[in-house]
């Protein structure tokens, strides 16, 4: 699922496209936000150096894929129930690339190996093996409806444009403005 040719950009010695990746849990409504977001936006007119991909698979497979792509930047989009914000709240943060503790990575990797798709697993495993470039941004949304089915809750549906605007803003940043 590649949007446009995977042109190259260069930033701080790392060559590769800007990767917009969605991580979602199929058929679990808001929890599938990452996947569905990617499907909605992959056809937009993205700059040539931007790749839009569904990364809804186990963490170590995402690591493989990111190593193959070798992106200069990564923008991850997903839904995570942190239960500290109201449904539909959008959180954007610069990922701290400090590797997590060994035990945490082992625990998460063992669960990922069993087929579990989980944004936090991906963040931990890919960070541990230094797969993410500096300036990796995570945009996550708080779910309102985690039941089986298609479509989003009104709160999450109402935040789609906000998430898209954030992604576009990140993509548009010149290398000098990319946070590290």
């Amino acid at each position: 699922m590649i949007s446009g040719p995977s042109g190259l950009s260069e930033r701080e010695g790392r060559v590769g496209p800007v990767l917009i990746g969605g991580i979602g849990l199929p058929w679990l409504r808001d929890l599938d936000f990452g996947t569905q977001f990617v499907r909605r936006v992959e056809g937009l007119d993205w700059p040539e150096h931007v790749m839009v991909e569904d990364l809804s698979f186990a963490a170590h497979r995402v690591l493989d894929r990111i190593n193959e792509i070798a992106p200069s930047r990564v923008i991850l989009v997903g839904c995570m129930p942190r239960e500290v914000d109201p449904p539909g709240t959008v959180r954007r943060y610069l990922l701290d690339l400090t590797p997590p503790p060994d035990q945490e990575v082992h625990d998460r990797l063992a669960e990922a190996a069993g087929g579990i798709i989980d944004l936090d697993h991906t963040l931990a495993v890919v960070r541990y093996w230094k797969g993410f470039p500096e300036g990796t941004i995570v945009i996550e949304i708080e779910p309102g409806d985690r039941s089986f089915g298609l479509g989003f809750s009104p709160e999450v549906e109402g935040a789609v444009d906000e998430v898209l605007a954030m992604v576009q803003e990140e993509v548009a940043k010149p290398p000098s403005e990319v946070p590290t």
Partner: protein, 626 residues
């Protein structure tokens, strides 16, 4: 005669029928379950009361699909597990989701039952649909499907041995539970060090250390090879979109086979190494302390449904199901008390029942007659058979004497049965009926496999059926099952190339969705064994769809006759062999027993000793649950 509990006999033509004079052939009176009590005689009986028992709860942390918990009772005076309950603690409901849908939807929807085994669910669903629709793929379509499956197996099995079961035998863990074994391992030279490159057993144990060990890390890389193989044939993994009723929608060319073979060659070398490595490691433990033979031991009752169709024989019909089932590269079969009692899929089908006396479901047999009293060939069916089953969730009871799990209790001939990658080589070895080929020979008591030359020279492997079905032998046989699948893959690839050479390049066949009432069933195997989808359609819609998976069998609770499920049986009687104080016991032998099955539920399992929480993991993919 393969049935000893069900009142089924066979006429002179080999057709099954109910024995005459049995008034209610499938009736039973559920026995009342009792809590564990130390026996009045036998080992430990004379020890002072009250016995030094400790409850151990293996407690789940779940994410999105399913989870496993195991409650155990340890007798610390006798150093043995004396009671166990296996608990699937989430309801999944794919059967309910599929009711009323277009039958073709079953492929994509059931594929999502599992994050590892999506391809096998899609495939077995396609098989069920093919039987239901009355269609059959062209020969190359069958072979391409087979090849994709070979790839899928190499996603799961290296992961299990390297990441899930392997760390239980690592230096980092064994040094805590049995430091004397680490010392011994340091002095013990590997018998096959010249092949796998590890000089001492401790070198192997070091390589199994989580995150840093070479075997652990390489397992991740091997799954990548498996995934590439799978994607060459299936287009996408883990949830292929190219598996369709009547074949494959993949675009295949000669380069597909060349690319596949490039990966398969690497797999041959991997199998030469991994089999010897697990031989050395398991032999070390069994020789260091023969009591390890009892870890995870249970009666040798194995159920396999067979996999890798012979494209010259497979016709997707129920009428010929025994013929094409027995022509599979890995044959179906039932091993009861170590003896292979049948390889016929009709026997496997009619002897299969699911019970819910200790599961969170209502009994669908009460107050109604079974929809089907026989299969399409006239063989008798139980009211508890999947074609007669209804999924009626009702989470009541919630104690070990009543109901304690979302898993059902599948039984064959009313006996507790397990399944696994190891079962596939076990059954095929006992069957002794391998198709004539240059790479595999089934000897009746073992299996000989030739791994062709790649970077390592050609090598011949031999796996002998072990005397005990236990944790160590499950792991060892899983390594050999990989070699078996690689050898099967080579045979299949040669066959596929032959079809290609002859110009028989079609991989799919057209079909229409029938509007009349029909039955179908898909028998296949996940990497972990048994995988069956039963289907009943009418007016172009699914009336009933029932999925039974490896972990439906393995994680089963007690049945109405009081017999524990396989995990439960394997845990009870497992000795506690840790050489530490009681308060420092980690329960590693219990976990080795459970993990040796390759449990398949998305869960993180914690052992609560009551003195603090020791975190260990059992991993899975979510296909246990309803």
């Amino acid at each position: 005669m393969c049935f000893k509990n069900l009142p089924i006999e066979f006429d002179d033509a080999g057709k099954a029928r109910l024995k005459e004079g049995v008034k209610d052939p499938y009736a039973f009176n559920p026995v009342e379950l009792k809590s564990y009590a130390r026996p009045a005689d036998g080992p430990g009986a004379k020890l002072g009361a009250p016995p030094k028992l400790r409850d151990w709860n293996i407690d789940p942390v779940t994410r999105v699909a399913g989870s496993l918990a195991v409650h155990t009772v340890l007798d610390l005076e006798n150093k043995v597990a004396v009671d166990a309950h296996s608990i699937a603690s989430l309801f999944r409901g794919y059967e309910i989701i599929l009711e009323g849908r277009d039958p073709r939807d079953a492929i994509d929807i059931s594929s999502r039952a599992c994050g590892v085994c999506g391809g096998v669910h899609a495939t077995v669903s396609a098989l069920a649909i093919e039987m239901t629709f009355g269609i059959c793929p062209p020969p190359l379509g069958v072979e391409v499907r087979n090849l994709g499956e070979v790839g899928e197996y190499f996603y799961d099995r290296p992961l299990h041995l390297g990441l899930l079961a392997g760390p239980d035998y690592s230096t980092s863990l064994v040094s805590v539970t049995n430091p004397e074994l680490v010392t011994l391992a340091e002095k013990t030279l590997c018998r096959h060090g010249d092949i796998h490159g590890y000089r001492t057993i401790k070198d192997i144990m070091d390589a199994l250390n989580p995150l840093t060990g070479r075997i652990y890390l390489e397992a991740l890389e091997w799954t990548r090879v498996g995934r590439v193989m799978c994607m060459i044939m299936f287009g996408k993994y883990p949830h292929p979109s190219t598996i369709v009723p009547g074949g494959m929608s993949t675009t295949i060319s000669v380069s597909s086979f060349n690319e596949f073979y490039t990966q398969l060659g690497k797999i041959f070398d991997f199998c030469k190494v991994i089999t010897r490595l697990w031989d050395d490691l398991m032999d070390f433990f069994l020789e260091a302390n023969p009591e390890y033979e009892q870890v995870g031991a249970r009666p040798t009752n194995i159920a396999q449904t067979g996999v890798f169709d012979n494209s010259e024989v497979y016709d997707a019909t129920y009428a010929n199901i025994n013929e094409w089932g027995n022509a599979r590269w890995n044959v179906p079969g039932m091993v009861i008390e170590g003896k292979l009692v049948t390889t016929n899929l009709t026997d496997i089908n009619v002897g299969f029942e699911e019970f819910i006396e200790h599961s969170f479901y209502d009994d669908w047999t009460k107050g109604s007659q079974p929809r089907f009293k026989t299969d399409p060939l006239g063989n008798p069916l139980s009211p508890h058979h999947p074609w007669n089953k209804r999924t009626l969730p009702r989470p009541t009871g919630k104690n070990f004497k009543e109901k304690y799990t979302w898993d059902t209790a599948p039984r064959w001939d009313r006996q507790s049965i397990e399944t696994g990658a190891y079962g596939s080589v076990w059954v095929t070895a006992l069957a002794g009926q391998t198709v004539d080929n240059p790479f595999i020979e089934s000897t009746g008591d073992g299996m000989r496999m030739v791994m062709p030359r790649h970077e390592l020279p050609e090598d011949e492997l031999y796996w002998k059926v072990p005397r005990t079905l236990n944790a160590m032998e499950r792991n060892r046989a899983r390594a050999y099952a990989m070699a078996n699948s690689a050898a099967v893959g080579m045979n299949i690839m040669l066959k596929a190339l032959e079809y290609w050479r002859r110009g028989e390049t079609a991989v799919s066949t057209p079909f229409k969705v029938p509007k009349d009432e029909r039955l179908g069933v898909g028998f296949w195997e996940a990497s972990r064994g048994w995988l069956v989808h039963h289907m009943h359609i009418d007016k172009g819609k699914i009336l009933n769809y029932q999925i039974t998976t490896p972990s439906t069998l393995n994680a089963a609770p007690r049945d109405p006759f009081g017999t524990p499920g396989p995990y439960e049986e394997a845990v009870v009687g497992t000795p506690i062999l840790e050489s530490v104080r009681d308060e420092d016991i980690k329960g590693i032998d219990i976990l080795r027993a459970i993990r040796s099955f390759d449990p398949c539920m998305p869960c993180t399992t914690h052992i609560d000793t009551g003195l603090g929480t020791i975190v260990r993991e059992v991993n899975s993919c979510g296909c246990t649950l309803e």
